[in-house]
Symmetry: D2
Subunit: 344 residues, 4 copies
């Protein structure tokens, strides 16, 4: 069985394991204060065009999301996101557990718009009873979204301007950021993200690392004491250099970008193969996640050789299934899938 | 100007002020351990048909809601309610501030159904990834609802059975409970509430007291240490007897019921007067809150003599306005309103 | 039996009940936005010499303490207080429940010193691992303390300067503030408190009101959105004018000060009577709380006619007992106690 | 420079890196549901003599501590520990951030006694005002302690019995558990810990793993839904098998025990070398952490070749320094240190 079910079903890029081995006999200072972490920060900052940015390494996505949000909000403030946002549906109420309400908005293919944000912000500003409701203070979006779609640079600029106009922070969950950056349709760079958001993160776990996410904080108000939030939430790895090694390895020669780009290419090949057979995408995604609407028969056939994700049913009763390529996908796996689809 | 804007715009029933005066020279023990509080508990329990019930006096509605909910839930558990539920829209995220997610459901005139609850509970039970989502553990409803509507005994039994079947607690916000009990359409008694819910409360603030809510806990699991939650949340009045006096006064001769019943009668007279003029109710309510859809002209006319609540617009562009009668409403105020409406 | 056990065993000053009665037929706007609350704020501000101060009315002491502290601190910050501080030992962990550590310091008769605060602040500043410990960000003291002692103006200035030097907020719990202000030894005015602290409150519950505390916020950083904290924590009285009436009544003619001053005088008469009999104070207090160290025999004798507070044992095995005078104490009650002590 | 500063300054046991490499091409299910994690659980359970125990893998010590404590306590409950306890002084108030008070007790060399716990529990039980104070509900101890000392089996039995008698949970922080188990003085087995506590954990990070801690839950009340707490707190590794591999590798052939035992032997050799030179231990520790009280001159000499931890001053003004051996220590490093000490 070949796993196309998600993008975190293998260990790490071989270069990362090599780097871990080659430094295993070296002693380092703890908690991310080591040289390797510093060097990884520098490699990442080369792409940011934002010299004053802080880069922090945390362990996983849910952790980054709730720690970052908790650091940005006061108790009476809330966060705006798509109803389908990861923080709203897949994190066991982690954000609420830190005391904050999530305002879920209807979405189109996982995306929300500047106009929707504008409306929520204006409603609050015009409310005569602001103290009876939570103050929307930040916007959370994912790039790519839960459905693999991506925000264009123009859309991001609009959202960013709206946030600025209403004194809202903008936070971008980049758990799969590599696959957005590697998408043929993408026009948003890391520098754009640094300059248009207050915080965003560059996902490692789903993009080639054993684990780890690189959080970038560009808003100076939000930088002080961030390490206290990390420690308080059990998110500070004692052997912090393990995170440094991984991000240095992925960023120093552009490995992060290359592997994700390849994964996106394969994803589109897979998509085209399905389309050729008259099987429609459930959602049109330009990244590594591809959603198809298939009959029971097709699903059964595919399940003979592949593990993929079950995502419920369409209104018409077709099965929604997700195929993920990733940094760990191999050409022969894709070939086998393409052949299978061709034979459907 | 006559205020029909809400049911908490006057001090208290005169009998309550008299009782406060007559005990002002007496010394009492603190924190609700006094005889008057005990006596008030007994008066209330006469109506409950539930000898093991606990009765606690707290100060206000938002307070009771969040303290009760916090006492019922563990950190990974959530509460189900109508999207329009008071905890979801008027309490500055108090429930989230205690760490819990609210699952808001679409409602019909402020009410949710057993079937909707069943669906949410079943979805969780069938989820293969329960640890990634919050566990729905309780249902919050209001009697009457934010729109003045009430649950019938049959509806309550259905909801209660569904909760029992799925191991959900049922909590009823009774901030305006008097007006449900006093409604001509009502068939739910205090004893029904005691026997069908895990906790519910009997509102004082909006039903004749200066302030105060009587929380009834019938589920034995939820009774121990409840006073610790009260104290920890600043909800324990040092001079607890002030709450005892008020509830004793309202319950010993049925004053609570009589005043609310009269308020409901007036509310229906007002409704009938509007209907007679061809002005429609926005929502059909059998209790003290009446919502009408009126033209700008009618609204202006009414605003010449009355203060009422602005509740936005109908899809057709009419103004939604709310008139509340209450325990403090006077016959002459109602007469004046009826006359005004008649003259429209 | 005559109660000298505490200062919250009676309803309210008769003037307050009269004021409540005289306004009972008037309709008011809700949540503290009414004219009476505004007028009460003005009466209080006459004493503050701080035009930009905000005055908020809350219901009880524990509530003010934890809501104020929660509004001042970020999640990684902690509060410094005496080990005997009310927030540390009598509030069911309310402050920790909002997420903050309390750093309890050894005290002398309930008081802590600027030097102790300086030490804690310096330890943090010099720590090479600040992110592993909480950041002390505020100081909580009570005036008078749990033991009835008071800070002199000089001591307060020292503490205030130390706080300013280390960027710590200073918060004064004034649940019994009247009795500090009314003490013959006191040299601290309300204006001093306004000018030396970031927030402090003027206690009503223990000083003549049915309930209620007036929180004064002078630090402009801490003023915005404070009403959101009040609402979120269930501390916003729907009928806010009830608090306004009470504070207006106590402050417009200086009633607050006069009654507390009389209570302090009586307390010292009682103290002198004990001393005359060779019974020593356990702690020398210049305010309404008097602590004596008495034999079992003396305790039994006193218990024949009086209710007082048991406060444990001295190292020598004597009983520590507390007698409280208050705004509700009557001359004849004091006379009876003086006679009893004289007859010991 | 040779690092003896702590036990987490190197990557991992080489066997662990090999195991990671050898499974890097295999696809696994996520979130700890894989076979390797299951197999690691089985290896650990071989030592527990407690078939119903749950074993969960988390990432780091602070994380395990606060997640475990949050899962055990209700909002009004508190945790008892030594004033020097890691949760009390090195975790940025993580426990308080989840809402719970820590009751810090004076300690002897990092240890607290059953008698101290008994006293706190009895004080609460006898309190007439339990609702005004937090309910002590659990005891947190570390094995070994912050000072390298260990509880004997007899001491653990006493503490466990006291906890049982007062309905307190017992939780043992085993971040360095290997070094307790490997100490020549130790008489406490993993099976003893399983049978005498409600939860305890087996530290990986400081005992040979890249990262990871194995939490054992034996109390059946505390087992349900624990994975929800893990996920909610960002402690669920997406690639959970990485934890499984590490613990399987350390436990299947007793590697965990052997490396720690060797570290303890070296630690005692180092201790003996210091003692021989007339340099006293600051605290007598039988495990891998050794504390010495040295003059400035000695400290400077040692600092020429070694990195060690500065732990402040003795009352007499000597420097307290800590040398840690660990799983990553090498014979030649120890030899060099022994030589240096011999030459002092």
């Amino acid at each position: 069985m070949i796993r196309f079910n998600n993008d975190y079903n293998h260990g790490a890029l071989p270069q990362i394991l090599e780097a871990l081995s080659s430094t295993n006999d070296t002693a380092f200072g703890g908690y991310g204060t080591d040289d390797l972490s510093e060097s990884a920060r520098k490699e990442i900052k080369k792409y940011l065009d934002f010299p004053e940015a802080q880069v922090h390494f945390l362990i996983g996505g849910t952790q980054v999301n709730y720690v970052a949000i908790a650091s940005m909000l006061r108790p009476f403030q809330s966060v705006i996101c798509a109803e389908s946002g990861h923080i709203n549906v897949h994190e066991t109420g982690a954000v609420e557990n830190t005391g904050h309400k999530i305002i879920g908005l209807p979405h189109v293919d996982g995306k929300i718009s500047a106009a929707q944000i504008e409306k929520i912000a204006a409603d609050f500003e015009e409310s005569p009873v602001q103290e009876h409701i939570t103050q929307p203070k930040m916007v959370y979006i994912s790039q790519p979204t839960e459905y693999g779609t991506i925000y264009s640079k123009e859309e991001l600029i609009e959202i960013s301007s709206t946030c600025a106009a209403h004194d809202l922070y903008l936070f971008v969950d980049g758990a799969r950021l590599g696959y957005a950056l590697g998408s043929a349709e993408n026009d948003v760079t890391l520098s754009d993200l640094a300059n248009l958001t207050d915080m965003f993160y560059i996902g490692g776990t789903k993009c080639g690392a054993l684990f780890g996410e690189a959080l970038v904080i560009t808003n100076k108000e939000l930088q002080p004491n961030f390490r206290s939030y990390i420690k308080q939430n059990g998110a500070m790895l004692a052997k912090g250099w393990l995170l440094g090694i991984q991000f240095e390895t992925m960023f120093k020669d552009g490995l992060y970008f290359k592997t994700a780009e390849q994964a996106c290419k394969w994803a589109l090949e897979i998509r085209d193969a399905f389309h050729k057979k008259g099987i429609k995408s459930y959602i049109e995604s330009p990244t590594n996640q591809q959603f198809f609407a298939v009959t029971d028969e097709v699903k059964s056939k595919l399940a003979e050789n592949f593990i993929f994700e079950d995502e419920g049913k369409t209104p018409e009763g077709l099965n929604i299934i997700r195929f993920c390529t990733s940094w760990s996908t191999k050409q022969e796996e894709v070939d086998e899938l393409l052949k299978k689809v061709g034979d459907l």
